[in-house]
């Protein structure tokens, strides 16, 4: 399958689930009181997002159960255990997206990023206080929603434990990311460990939670977790590359912002090893004050050093590794989509 054909197939699979996920977010995260708090909590969720993590969660469940694509109602999804009542799998999908949204809101405050998904960040659109609280509200709501999925309690507990430890890892990863900005260099292993915690763990949770909730065996669950770790790292590496090469309009935020903020990425790490003076590539620390030409020039230097290609190759390796783990699933359409989603994560243009 060509990348273009694959993109079309994946996008269709992701988009059809996205519509269902968006409806579910509306239903499972209603506007409560005080209204402004709930509006702020939903603001970024409503601004867009591909819903890749929920798509992975739902596709994994379909692959595990070996049913046709969209062949079961996500709201009354059968488990793998005979005689058990169905569960509201969609709530689990909403839960991971709500966690993702909470982390974006708090990260944007910490990173002072003013744009996200083509709209103002929550702390700009509202205010920092409301943004902190909106994130905190989503945090507890994600747990409430996961509980309401209604899986048998021992497995629900297991899923909640996974969700909680995932959140802890995400905080650790973001903390490392901030710390790295203050350091002259960061090793490849350190960077990949940071990316694993900051980004990949939520992919790992998205792929392993359906296995937990449906009652899959531990081997299957672990393999799916590894799939998530691998493709999640690939996703973040690709994201770092996109920040360099995609227009601000398509990104929904300022191009080159990572470079301006001094974020450590696998690309800048490689460039440093090639002797590039990465810190001298861009002067000033206000993303808005840096010209497109200055960013073009900096990117050209990174391209020249082979650093962007290095990142692309590494991301591809992780995707291939991730796909291997999917062999644990029955050979069906949903598994094929999960393989294609893995490819799409590093082929997407924004």
């Amino acid at each position: 399958m060509t990348p273009e054909a694959r993109e079309e197939t994946v996008l269709e699979a992701v988009q059809r689930r996205r519509e269902l996920v968006n409806d579910a977010i509306d239903a499972d995260l209603p506007i409560g009181d005080p209204e402004r708090l709930y509006e702020a909590s939903r603001y970024l969720l409503e601004a867009g997002g591909k819903r890749l993590r929920p798509a992975i969660l739902l596709l994994t469940a379909e692959a595990l159960l070996d049913v046709p694509l969209l062949g079961e109602d996500y709201r009354e999804f059968p488990t793998l255990v005979e005689g058990e009542p169905p569960i509201d799998l969609m709530k689990a999908a909403v839960s991971v997206e709500v966690i993702q949204s909470f982390t974006l809101i708090h990260d944007d405050i910490m990173d002072q990023d003013e744009m996200r998904r083509g709209v103002q960040s929550v702390h700009v659109e509202y205010d920092p206080e409301t943004a902190i609280l909106a994130g905190d509200t989503l945090y507890s709501k994600a747990f409430e929603i996961m509980i309401a999925a209604g899986a048998p309690s021992a497995r629900s507990m297991d899923a909640l434990d996974t969700l909680a430890s995932t959140c802890t890892r995400i905080c650790e990863g973001q903390s490392l990311d901030l710390e790295f900005e203050t350091r002259p260099t960061v090793g490849t292993d350190e960077y990949l460990d940071m990316v694993d915690r900051k980004t990949a763990v939520l992919y790992a949770a998205s792929a392993s939670i359906p296995a937990i909730l449906l009652g899959a065996d531990e081997h299957t669950r672990n393999a799916l977790e590894e799939y998530g770790h691998a493709v999640g790292k690939a996703f973040q590496i690709h994201d770092d590359i996109l920040d360099l090469i995609v227009s601000s309009d398509d990104l929904g935020k300022q191009r080159g912002s990572d470079l301006v903020e001094g974020k450590q990425t696998i690309v800048t790490h490689h460039a440093r090893e090639q002797g590039v003076d990465v810190d001298g590539l861009i002067t000033g620390d206000d993303p808005d004050a840096v010209s497109q030409e200055a960013i073009d020039e900096a990117v050209a230097v990174l391209e020249e050093a082979g650093s962007i290609d290095y990142g692309r190759t590494l991301a591809r390796e992780y995707v291939e590794e991730g796909k291997e783990y999917l062999q644990v699933l029955p050979d069906n359409d949903a598994r094929a989509r999960l393989e294609q989603v893995a490819d799409y994560l590093i082929e997407r243009g924004y």
Copy 2:
């Protein structure tokens, strides 16, 4: 019993549990990686705190089980269900204290309060980014620790659901508190609703979670929840009064800061109804720039208007209401301590 004698008894009961709770925090919230994040997460917990909520949780469990004070190992605490293995009740106590600490860290950022428990707030001692992340880390850790209490999974789920919805209510309450600062007046019912969500729900959780975990019936659980709602509101009303009348040294933060920040309290509400120009009492909005004399004068006006007495009376009424709910418990020493803790909440000097 005189208030002084009661204070001594309560403090002894609280302090003996506090030492155990502090040891448990050390054990259940170890310094992880990155160290700085975990140090920041523990900073406020280590700075002090009376551990009132854990004390209520532990005493409630002892009262329910009808055992002598400190008669059972909190780490292997029997449940009410015959033949069930013991649970790690202490972890539940640590969990509610960790939630309390997370809310204080985030509230101090939002309220720009620079002191807490006699030390600098986390966002001042570290930085706002680290403080946001420290709070977020404690948030998920609280769930991990509650899960590790090891109660039978259906009841664990119930406790987690209570913890999650409690956190949601706390966010709503804090949001209302911030919103009230921008409004000229706030009704008594609105204020009490805000206080219930912001403060009392965590007392309610502290009293009802042991009932859930130990397997008490729903009537008992609901009554204990009501105890928490009532004494929690009394606690907050008393806290608002302490902010006015206790020296900054004893408070561990600037006296009169609520007045300066324009916080709505039951005291200012009453004063407004008596025709006091509350907003004119203090000019300027920097707590450090307001003299002790100016605060003394403002407090004298509130005293004169009967507003402080009004608050005291209301708090007392809630305490008496709360104590009534304790009749659901067996008549034993632990129940007597819970009654005394309720009195202490509005008699404490800081």
